[in-house]
Amino acid sequence: MTAWLRMAAASAWARRGTLVWVIVAIAIATALLLAIERLRHDVRASFLQAVSGTDLIVGARTGPVQLLLYSVFRVGGASNEVRLEALDEALRHRAVAWWVPLALGDSHRGYPVLGTTTGYFEHFRYGDRQPLALAQGRPFAGTLDGLYEATIGADVAARLGYAPGQKIVLAHGLPGQGSGPMAEHADKPFTVVGVLARTGTPVDRTVHVSLEAITAIHLDWMGGAPVPGFAIPAEAARKFDLAPKTVTAALVGLKSRSAVFMVQRQVQAYEGEPLMAVLPGVALDELWQAIAIVEQALLAVSALVALAGIAGLVAVVQAGLAERRRELAVLRAIGAGRRVMLGLLAAEGLWIASAGVAAGVLLALLAQTAAGPWLHANYGIALVGAAPWSGQALLLLAVWVAAMLAAIAPGWRACRMALADGLAPRA
């Protein structure tokens, strides 16, 4: 037996120039498949983990998906503001544990600015009910003294190179809205006082300031532009009433989830203003279904990649058939039966498929380690830190079996030709 294994090894070594490429083909197919599957899985996961622990999102009446898009993903703008007073009245219910107002509409170098209260840092949850954590500094104070303070997300800090102490200027409006250069609130610069730890959610791309600060920078503005000949210096702004009048949306937490529909009904039925309340999970599902075509496309790409890899593999093995055929003819002439020939082929297919799949897994691991931080920083997709093969055992098994079949099939053809050749190999 060992003699035959040694022989299979020697035979493979003699064809190493071909076999190396076979292994490379399997490795690439495996790695791509794993990487795409991981990406597909994690895109979905980071998407669905953008908000958690919030029972309702309340805003002006619009579509649930649109409300979710601008309040959580900072995509698009609100059609209408809501009065803070109206929110306060509509959310007067004993089941409401907390609510945090959100005011959107400004930006800093392309990153959205979120006006909120310090309650945001206390109540907001993402992923698996994880609270926000600070990487450096502290949350903005939310007091008059700390009016012009900002706490920034991890991506903002990393991409713009900001650290606590940095002075920043907010711009009016969101990038991509309107034309021409964006008007800036240059007269009232902010100081970065804290940087949030990475979350893998839109929080990473957000600049957080207090609601009062949002009011302050718009004191001398009207209709989206500074009022000509009228300017209130930064210091003087503190003397005005900075209590916010309107916000964009609010996140609501309940004492008990069971009250969610009751509170939702109360908000929707509020007569002072047309309000809507959506369950984030429901809206997220709805949104994901709308873009699930992307997931389908990725799945199709995975399948095609695997197919291309296996096809390349068959081509490579097929090309090496002539040398194999002569070898099998010699073996057959000296009395090697089907069993011996098949055994040799199977042994080779086995170790080639195994080596290829193992190399592919290694490649995927390297790629994940190398590209993970980049993906997170640029696209907010958090590769969940799991090994590339976790949850992919079935996929790996399928690749392994397919690779083995592809490695054996041409050999089996050579075997059958050797049987039909008669005694002498027809070179």
């Binding site: 010699v330 073996l331 009395g335 090697a336 049987l419 008669g422």
Partner: protein
């Protein structure tokens, strides 16, 4: 019929999927330990004849007995085992597995057949070395990969492999066609000498009549084969 190395009777063979016979041999007997030269140009059914005698092809009609056993009566795996046990084969070329050493090539039949291994005096390694030495292969070459040898040396290794474990029958199919005349004559002499030494019947197939010198018997295959093309057709 005991004592006959090959006994062929009423043999008719057509390639699978065809109806036209390429070989039709009413009778051919070759006695054990004889050295027989089978003469025939290409196209006279020579490869078919060799395939049938080696049990790689099986006749649709008639019998091919080698050392008393008809190939047609055996299952495919039994034929493989019997071929390993009773036959040594030498081709025109490409006899060896290029990635194995010379000695490992010679030992292949012993790995396939315990019978062949058991018949090696003093163990199969010793027998392999003895045969290589007798075939005139320099000792330093024995452990080298077969691919590094000259064609003449490779044919001598193939002969050693065919002879190891004293098979009943050695089939040689134009084994000298790739050799120059000096090496050819030496190879012929060594092959016949060693067949005698191990007691194997030798069936040597060639188109070259000049090689027939010294054989016990010459068989003219086209003359025996009733469906062989005439000389005019071959030309």
């Amino acid at each position: 019929m005991a004592g006959a190395a090959i006994a062929i009777a009423g043999l008719r063979y057509a390639w699978p999927g065809t109806h036209e016979a390429v070989l039709d041999l009413p009778a051919l007997d070759i006695a054990a330990s004889d050295q027989v030269f089978v003469q025939g140009a290409s196209g006279c059914g020579k490869s078919t004849f060799l395939g049938l005698v080696a049990g790689v092809l099986v006749a649709g009609r008639g019998q091919v007995r080698v050392a008393g056993v008809d190939w047609a009566g055996l299952a495919p795996s039994e034929r493989d085992a019997r071929r390993a046990a009773t036959l040594g084969v030498i081709f025109q070329q490409f006899n060896l597995l290029p990635y194995l050493s010379v000695v490992d090539n010679v030992l292949l039949p012993c790995r396939l057949s315990a019978l062949r291994a058991g018949r090696c005096e003093g163990g199969m390694q010793a027998q392999a070395r003895r045969l290589l030495a007798r075939m005139g292969l320099p000792e330093p070459a024995w452990t080298r990969p077969a691919a590094q040898l000259s064609v003449g040396q490779q044919q001598r290794v193939a002969a050693a492999r065919a002879l190891i474990g004293g098979p009943d029958l050695v089939l040689a199919d134009e084994p000298t066609s790739a050799l120059d005349s000096d090496t050819r004559d030496r190879f012929m002499a060594l092959l016949r000498e060693q067949c005698t030494a191990v007691g194997s019947t030798l069936v040597f197939v060639s188109h070259d009549r000049r090689l027939a010198q010294g054989f016990d018997r010459v068989v003219d295959l086209p003359a025996l084969n009733r469906v062989a093309p005439t000389a005019a057709e071959v030309a």
